[in-house]
Amino acid sequence: MHLLRQRDGLRIPSSEITPREHYENRRDWLKSAGALGLAGLGAGLGLDAAAQTAGPGKLAKLPATRSAVPGAMAMEKLTRYEDVTSYNNYYEFGTDKSDPAQHAHTLKTRPWTVAIEGECAKPGRYGIEDLLKLAPMEERIYRLRCVEGWSMVIPWEGYSLAELLKRAEPSSRAKYVEFTTLADKAQMPGVRSGVLDWPYVEGLRLDEAMHPLTLLAFGLYGEVLPNQNGAPLRLVVPWKYGFKSAKSIVKIRFTEQQPVSSWTKAAQQEYGFYSNVNPKVDHPRWSQATERRIGEDGFFAKKRATLMFNGYESQVGQLYAGMDLKKFY
C-alpha cells in the first residue's frame, strides 16, 4: 500500500485514483449485491453503509433495520427512486401517472391521526408520531405489481400492520379490515372528479391483514414517504395488485361483513375483492401473464413473466388453500 501514499504520508482518497463514474458504478454494484443478500461481503469491506438503500436526501431520514420476516427482502434490482416517485397511480391527485408527483405537494401530513374502529375491544385514535414509534422500523424490499401490467421493486420502511391491529384486540366478530383514505377537496384536486366514489376504500380479510408481510409503510428508500407515494402512512400488500395497498390512511375499521373496495364498486367484473396477483386469471381487457418491469433493460426490453402471488406464494399461498381463485379474483 505504500505506493499509494504520498510523501507527506497522507493517503490519496480513492476518489482521486478512480474515475468518479467507476466508483459510483461500484457502489451501485454493491447496493445490488446488498439486495442480493450479499451484504456480508460489503460489511466485510467496511462498506455496509453503501449497501443501505439510501434516498436522494430530499426528505427526512427514517432509520430502519433489515426485516427478518420471511420473504420480506426481495433479491432483485431496485427500481430507481426517480421512477418510484414520478410514476404513480394516486387518483386523488389526478388520473395521469405524472399527476401525483406534480400535485401532491398540497397534501398536509401533519397533524395526522388514524382512527381504529369497529369490532375490537380497544378502538382509538393514533397520532402519526405515536404510530412512528409503535414498533421498530424495518426495511423491506418488495415487488410491486400494478394491475395495469407493470412492476417495480421498492425498498419500504415500516412494520407489519399486525403490530397495530393486535393492540386494538379485534373481537371474534371481526372478519375483515376496512381501510379508508383521506379525501379532502382542498388538498386533493382529483377528488373533485367523479372517477371514483370518494373516499377511497380498500379491504382485506383479517388473516390477510394480520399476515407479517402486510406492511404499514411510513417510508421508502430510507426516507419518509413522498406525498405522491401515500404519505404519511400507507398499506403495502405485496402479493396483491397495487391498488389494494391504500395510501394516506385515516381510518381502519374491523368489520364482520366483507368491505366493498372502491375499484370493485366502480367495475365489479374487473376488480375483485381479493385481487391477488395471478398470471392465470386475466383482467377482462388484458392479460396478466406478463409485466413490464419499470426501468429494466431499456426501451426494447421484453416483458417478464408474472409470478403467482407476485412471487410470495410460499408465504401466503396457504391463506387461499381450497379457494377457486378464478371465482374469487
Binding site: 372517477v195 371514483l196 386475466d282 419499470i294
Partner: protein
C-alpha cells in the same frame, strides 16, 4: 379559373394556403410528434415507462390527425377557405402512418412480436379488436389515396369507399373509450367524442337541409 399562368402564380403567392411551401410546412408539422417520441426515447424524457408513453402517444396522435382530417371540409366551408381542401389527403395518409406505427409499437413493445399471442390478444380483448378493425379499414383508404386510384375506381365509387372514414372514426373512438373504461377515466374520450359529434353532426345537418 380561366386566369392566365402569371396571374395565377401572383394570386398563389398572395394566398399563403396556396403557396407551394404550405404542403411542406404541413408535412414537417405532421412529423413533429413522431420526432418528439424518437427524441424522447433516446434522451430518456418519456418518464418511467417509455414503451407505454410511445404506444399511447402514437394512438393519441392517430386520433388527433383523423379528427383534423375530418375537420377539413367543415372548416373549409365555415371559413370560406376552399384552399384547405388540398391538405386533406396528406392528413389522411399521416393518420394511416401513425395508426400503423401505433400497431407496430403495440406488437413489438407490448407483445414482443409473438404473432400467435397477438392474434389471441385481438380475439380476446374487445378494445384491441376495435383498434385493429379501425386499422384494417384504414388500409383500403390508404391504398387508394393517389390520383390514379381515383381514376381507376371512378370518382363516385372512390367517394363511396372513402365514406368508410366515418366508421373508422367511430370505431377508433370506441377503442379509446374502452381502453379508458377500466380506469373509469372518460374525461379525454368525452372531449374527442364531443368534437366528433360536431364534425359528423354538421354533415348530417347539411344533408338533411339539402
Amino acid at each position: 379559373m380561366q386566369t392566365s399562368p402569371p396571374l395565377r402564380a401572383a394570386k398563389a403567392a398572395r394566398h399563403p394556403l396556396l403557396h407551394p411551401a404550405a404542403k411542406v410546412v404541413l408535412f414537417v408539422l405532421c412529423l413533429l410528434p413522431l420526432a418528439w417520441y424518437a427524441f424522447g426515447v433516446v434522451t430518456y424524457q418519456l418518464g418511467a415507462n417509455p414503451a407505454e408513453a410511445v404506444i399511447r402517444g402514437l394512438g393519441d396522435w392517430t386520433l388527433r390527425l383523423l379528427w383534423i382530417t375530418l375537420a377539413v371540409t367543415p372548416l373549409r366551408q365555415w371559413t370560406s377557405q376552399p384552399a384547405l381542401a388540398r391538405f386533406r389527403r396528406m392528413l389522411g395518409v399521416f393518420t394511416f402512418v401513425y395508426a400503423s406505427l401505433h400497431l407496430v409499437a403495440y406488437a413489438f413493445l407490448d407483445m414482443s412480436l409473438d404473432i400467435p399471442e397477438i392474434l389471441r390478444d385481438i380475439a380476446k380483448r374487445p378494445f384491441i379488436l376495435m383498434g385493429f378493425a379501425a386499422w384494417l379499414m384504414l388500409l383500403p383508404l390508404a391504398a387508394t389515396s393517389f390520383n390514379r386510384a381515383i381514376k381507376a375506381l371512378g370518382a363516385k365509387r372512390w367517394q363511396w369507399l372513402h365514406k368508410l372514414v366515418y366508421a373508422i372514426a367511430v370505431v377508433g373512438l370506441m377503442h379509446f373509450i374502452w381502453m379508458r373504461a377500466g380506469k373509469n377515466n372518460f374525461a379525454e374520450p368525452a372531449v374527442y367524442g364531443a368534437i366528433l359529434a360536431v364534425l359528423l353532426g354538421w354533415r348530417v345537418w347539411k344533408r338533411l337541409k339539402a
